[in-house]
């Protein structure tokens, strides 16, 4: 994608390190913390945050992956066939503090679906949210506890996060798209 770059690989790396520190500080330690990445790009981000925590705390946090496809409220609106990536949760969530990790926070609907999915697996003590980019335009009363970068956008722009694990490079770009005329 040729859009305007808003975060470089270095900036992404620093944002993850900062988030890893905030997490520990807010929890006053690492006890009971679980990182759960939302498929797809939230998953490598969760692993990176866990690695950063391990580096400065010497503690290995459990990391899970959550597929929220079955919890979306817009199944019939998804312009392509949803591809289910799968959910793997390594520990019992009861009584834990779950940190949901995603790449971009936008309308909040993904996070709403993710919280619905999580509570089907147990009753966490708390659910927190960490995102790499908050681009605004919320449609639900949801906010992130930890944000890599706040990016003001307009609704005809797309924020694309590229990660080495999936896309072969680290970058965040913003691009204007031509919104197709609604069909009659």
């Amino acid at each position: 994608m040729d859009g305007r770059q808003i975060m470089t690989a270095d900036e992404i790396r620093r944002a993850i390190i900062r988030i890893s520190h905030e997490l520990v500080e807010k929890q006053a330690g690492t006890d009971g913390l679980v990182l759960v990445g939302i498929q797809r790009r939230g998953v490598p981000l969760a692993h990176r945050i866990a690695a950063a925590v391990e580096e400065h705390e010497g503690v290995t946090l459990p990391v899970g992956a959550l597929d929220i496809t079955f919890y979306r409220d817009d199944l019939s609106l998804i312009a392509h066939q949803p591809v289910v990536k799968g959910t793997q949760l390594p520990v019992d969530l009861n009584g834990r503090t779950v940190v949901l990790v995603d790449d971009v926070l936008y309308t909040g609907r993904t996070i709403r679906a993710a919280m619905d999915a999580l509570v089907d697996f147990g009753r966490p003590r708390a659910i927190r949210l960490a995102v790499l980019v908050d681009r605004g335009h919320r449609e639900l009363p949801i906010r992130a506890d930890h944000v890599g970068k706040n990016v003001p956008t307009s609704s005809d722009e797309v924020v694309e996060v590229a990660l080495v694990e999936i896309d072969g490079e680290d970058a965040v770009r913003i691009e204007r798209v031509d919104v197709p005329a609604p069909t009659a």
Partner: protein
């Protein structure tokens, strides 16, 4: 995640509005069903094995033939996805009472059905329903013709044990003439590249020899050929999978077979017959079984019998199909 803005990925596979048979599915689509079934298996393993994917979707289960297993399997699948389920047991006598299938489908639609799972005794009936109904039709079995969800759960079960079935010897043993399971399995297994053998007495193989002969040098694009024989020993030798089919008592009345006893003696799946298959050969049966006729009771309970696993996988496959059909058809996206 601004998913609705991401352009359609090039690897999109599912293009079906209805699922009337597996013959229209590409191998890529079959593989998508398999992957989606994996996800459904994970859902089934959760403490709360229910997800809201089809919340607000009305799935009407319209069965013109008595069936417990398949109907309940679809019902559980739909409920696991939080669909609203309406059950209609339309006895075939309502046909003679004058309400046509077309009238019934229109009525069901007016009652709010978004999807219809349909079982009918006449081959091809779902194609007529699909022409009338604005939502999706999922064929739950039509006449002798097709039973796509069964063929897909059979394939899923085989893959769970064998990995890729390409080149694996799969034997379907029994009354294929009257079997929608056999016909759908021919399509899915020849698409998946299995070495498919079909075996039974000549009276109930009729037509399949023609089919196999015509496909000997390659059949429909993307499908391999298959073998038809009445020689049970040759069919079972070194088999990786043996699937026995139900033999119905009515076949004796129609003069197709002398007796159940003779059938069991010559074509029943026994330990002795199974001895020539591979040691770990899977034993399958779409149910309901006539133990002692097409399958010996001690074979049905062997460790390598996956008959109950077929039932469990049936729910997961049907969840996958309902889910894919609910989100999959192109008309649904025009208002995005």
């Amino acid at each position: 995640m601004n998913a609705s803005r991401i352009p359609t990925p090039p690897d999109v596979a599912w293009q079906q509005k209805h699922l009337l048979d597996v013959d229209v599915l590409s191998l890529a689509e079959i593989q998508l069903v398999m992957r989606t079934t994996d996800a459904m298996k994970e859902v089934l393993a959760r403490p709360i094995s229910k997800v809201p994917a089809l919340r607000g979707t009305n799935v009407t289960i319209l069965f013109y033939e008595a069936s417990t297993r398949t109907r309940v399997s679809f019902e559980v699948a739909a409920k696991n996805l939080s669909a609203d389920v309406v059950n209609i047991a339309a006895s075939s006598s309502s046909v003679t009472k004058g309400e046509s299938l077309v009238d019934t489908i229109r009525t069901v639609e007016a009652l709010g059905a978004d999807m219809i799972v349909m079982r009918h005794g006449t081959s091809g009936a779902p194609y007529l329903a699909a022409e009338v109904f604005s939502g999706s039709i999922l064929n739950g079995g039509d006449g002798w013709h097709a039973h796509p969800s069964q063929a897909l759960l059979d394939l899923y079960t085989m893959r769970a044990h064998l990995g890729d079935v390409r080149g694996k010897k799969v034997v379907i043993l029994g009354d294929v003439l009257h079997s929608r399971v056999a016909r759908s399995n021919v399509w899915s297994l020849t698409a998946a590249g299995a070495d498919l053998w079909i075996c039974g007495p000549t009276t109930i193989l009729r037509g399949f020899d023609t089919w196999a002969g015509r496909w000997a040098s390659g059949g429909a694009p993307g499908h391999v050929g298959f073998t038809v024989t009445s020689d049970v020993g040759a069919a079972l030798r070194d088999a990786d999978v043996v699937m026995a089919l139900r033999l119905q008592r009515e076949r004796m009345d129609a003069g197709l077979l002398p007796s159940l006893r003779e059938y069991a003696a010559r074509f029943g799946l026994t330990r002795e017959r199974l001895a020539v298959a591979k040691p770990a050969a899977l034993v399958m049966h779409p149910g309901p079984m006539n133990e002692g006729v097409e399958i010996a009771p001690d074979v049905a309970v062997l460790d390598r019998s996956v008959i109950t696993e077929q039932v469990t996988n049936g729910v997961a496959v049907r969840m996958a199909l309902l889910y894919l059909l609910a989100g999959g058809h192109p008309e649904a996206v025009t208002n995005a």
